[in-house]
């Protein structure tokens, strides 16, 4: 791309920035990081806080023991006939549903995703303080479209992946992966600031919290 001055856009922009900094040279800065990092909460409190914050954003939360995962999922999804899942989801989680299981792949069409009654995935990490679930496209979570197009998302959160605050959650991420942060179902307050749940993402978010107490 050639600009007016006969230089490339990049040279023009970087040249201007360097000129600006030469006209008013900036003073050196040190970033004060006095905010909380490495917060640790005992497990029961962490789980309780996450559940409370998720419910506050109108996600439905079901706690269960790890050994009851399949039964809990089957109970929640009840009449669902077509359930989607990523290739790396532990298949025994869906063993009791009785629904037709459609394993997602790169060739699965958007229309097929749209026709699912629900999608079941795992999760990478969750932040208790904000009620946020982080997906990082790992094998038990799948590509982004899988948790976006279907109308209901059932997300399994393992107690061991729950951290206290935002800094602890960010530290566990692998930046190069596609990452999605989910805090409750999609929402809008664009009309007279009245909260409406379910605009474009899944209108229902169900969280199964696997605790072993």
């Amino acid at each position: 791309m050639t600009g007016k001055t006969g230089t490339t856009g990049k040279a023009t922009v970087l040249g201007r920035i360097r000129d600006a900094l030469a006209i008013a040279p900036p003073a050196p800065v040190t970033v004060p990081r006095a905010y909380r990092t490495g917060t640790e909460l005992p497990s029961p409190q962490r789980i309780a806080l996450l559940a409370e914050r998720l419910r506050d954003y109108r996600a439905s939360v079901h706690e269960c023991r790890a050994t009851d995962t399949a039964a809990t999922i089957a109970r929640i999804l009840g009449p669902a006939r077509r359930i989607g899942c990523p290739a790396g989801l532990p298949r025994d989680w869906l063993a009791e549903t009785g629904a037709e299981i459609r394993v997602d792949g790169p060739e699965t069409s958007v229309a097929a995703l749209d026709a699912l009654d629900a999608v079941v995935t795992g999760s990478a990490v969750s932040c208790a303080e904000t009620g946020t679930i982080f997906l990082d496209a790992g094998p038990d979570q799948g590509r982004r479209a899988l948790t976006l197009v279907p109308d209901k998302h059932l997300c399994v959160v393992d107690a061991s992946s729950v951290v206290a605050g935002v800094p602890e959650a960010i530290a566990r991420l692998e930046p190069a992966r596609p990452i999605t942060l989910i805090s409750g179902p999609s929402a809008t307050s664009d009309i007279e600031l009245e909260r409406v749940e379910g605009v474009h993402g899944p209108r229902t978010l169900v969280v199964v919290l696997r605790t072993d107490r």
């Binding site: 201007r16 932040c127 530290a171 664009d190 993402g201």
Partner: protein, 495 residues
């Protein structure tokens, strides 16, 4: 031409960065709209209360603000190096980076990247609003569909956004229902004005667009230099749709939106949602780095936009306006914004931050409507308190007023100030002037002057003036009565 060792002040930006009227003229019309004032009052009150609660919940809120402010200062100080690293990382991951010195260049680059697509979907981006992308695409025969509910409302109405965060804050449900019935293709004719049903109508309409679109255009909240990661923070899921479904993604990002390290998100993902919607976290945040095979767009282009940002950077005080993360907290706490709404500011960027950003990005010389923006404030300081990255907006406003007066002092005011300087420079002249001012009592009624004669009428156009006292302090000081009072006080001593 720039030569080594002789830095030139960079040129100002172009595009939708100024209105056609000065702020007082535009505000005059807006203030007469009682519906707008009711909507704005309700909206800003609600968000203010939510923001306070969300920020108050964190014991380290002030420490987060300090960190956020310092990180942004650091970004600006190292901008050339950070941008080059960022470009390298994005490129390594399969993205293509383009550099746009101004609005026209950005429009040209983006249009060139569309590759024959006649329809594109868009996710809320102030930068594309700033460069007038939709208008440019329309002139090239390309339809751009806004997918954020509020932006969709604004677009269907042929309107412009009035608030950074809730662009349709100036419309109520009845107006939106009428608009959908009139302008949304395929809408159910029995649609009522329940917000849930209005949102459902938008979902149905936009779903077809998301599924069919070849190209999406987005903005970005943050770009991470260290990793090449881009971030979009949103609520409705239209962002996720645009960033995931189409084959090609084009992102327009202002050069100041960088963060040095991925870990810096730990600060900004706490500051932004709580300051913006007053939530602990917004419903959806997407992060992506270049292209991921088998997941999302196969082609990714990043357009880096200057458009007056480097000019703003050349001012050592004014540059802190570039710290802005577009949360809109300053709008919601501003007593001026609450009454006039965003349109009165003319530019894409309204409210207190707009009043310091627009004149710097686009200039404010001569009779430029932007020259009125630094005065669109009572300097109450609420914006500074609310700003998550601690931009001292009141000081910036004062600095811009100073720059404006230095370049173009109003002539009448300059003459008055010159006369005042002459009078105050000599005690006899000052006494005479004060006595002359005593004549002002002839204009007063009940102790107040409500209208001065020309050329001083401008002063009383917006305020009343207390009548001058019968006696000036100097007259009183010289009187026998004052001498007697002072003697008595001296006898009593300081006690």
């Amino acid at each position: 031409m720039t030569f080594l060792g002789t830095p030139e002040v960079p040129p100002r930006g172009t595009g939708n960065l100024r209105g056609t009227q000065s702020f007082p003229e535009a505000a005059h019309d807006r203030l007469a709209d009682s519906q707008l004032r009711r909507n704005l009052g309700k909206a800003t009150r609600t968000i203010r209360a939510k923001r306070l609660a969300a920020a108050g919940e964190l014991p380290d809120w002030e420490a987060l603000r300090d960190a956020g402010s310092a990180i942004k200062t650091q970004v600006l100080a190292n901008l050339p190096e950070l941008l080059e690293t960022f470009e390298q990382r994005v490129t390594e991951r399969g993205g293509t980076v383009h550099w746009a010195p101004d609005a026209a260049a950005a429009n040209e680059i983006i249009t060139g990247l569309l590759g024959g697509a006649r329809e594109v979907v868009k996710v809320k981006s102030m930068a594309t609003q700033e460069i007038g992308l939709n208008e440019h695409l329309e002139s090239a025969g390309i339809s751009a569909f806004e997918t954020d509910l509020a932006e969709l409302i604004v677009q269907l109405a042929g309107d412009t956004p009035s608030h950074i965060l809730v662009p349709a804050i100036h419309r109520n449900r009845a107006e939106i229902r009428e608009l959908f019935l009139r302008a949304m293709p395929g809408v159910d004719p029995d649609l009522d004005d329940d917000p849930a049903n209005l949102a459902a109508a938008a979902r149905r309409y936009l779903r077809q667009k998301f599924m069919a679109a070849e190209v999406a255009i987005s903005g970005a909240n943050f770009g991470i230099a260290e990793t090449g990661t881009l971030t979009v923070v949103e609520s409705e899921g239209n962002g996720r749709m645009c960033l995931t479904m189409p084959r090609k993604l084009i992102t327009l990002m202002g050069i100041e939106k960088l963060l040095p390290r991925f870990a810096d998100l730990e600060v900004f993902l706490q500051l932004l949602p709580r300051s913006s919607t007053g939530e602990r976290m917004n419903p959806y945040t997407s992060m992506w780095t270049g292209v991921t095979p088998g997941d999302g767009p196969e082609e990714f282009h990043l357009v880096l936009l200057d458009n007056g940002r480097s000019a703003t950077l050349a001012d050592e005080i004014g540059r802190s306006a570039l710290h802005c993360i577009r949360c809109s907290a300053c709008l919601n706490v501003c007593p001026v914004y609450e009454r006039t709404g965003g349109h009165a500011y003319g530019s894409t960027y309204p409210g207190p931050i707009g009043a310091v950003l627009s004149p710097q990005l686009a200039g404010m010389a001569g009779t430029d409507p932007n020259a009125s923006l630094p005065y669109a404030s009572s300097l109450c300081g609420a914006c500074y308190d609310a700003c998550p990255v601690k931009i001292d907006i009141p000081s910036l406003l004062v600095e811009l007023r100073h720059q404006h007066v230095r370049e173009a002092a109003p002539r009448g005011e300059a003459a008055i100030m010159k006369a005042a300087a002459a009078a105050m420079g000599d005690s006899r002249r000052w006494e005479l002037a004060q006595r002359a001012a005593g004549l002002g009592r002839l204009l007063a009624r009940d102790g107040w002057i409500r209208a001065l004669p020309p050329p001083l009428r401008g002063w009383t156009g917006a305020r009343d003036l207390p009548a001058p006292p019968k006696q000036t302090f100097r007259q009183w000081w010289a009187s026998p009565q004052a001498r007697e009072e002072l003697r008595r006080e001296a006898e009593r001593g300081l006690g």
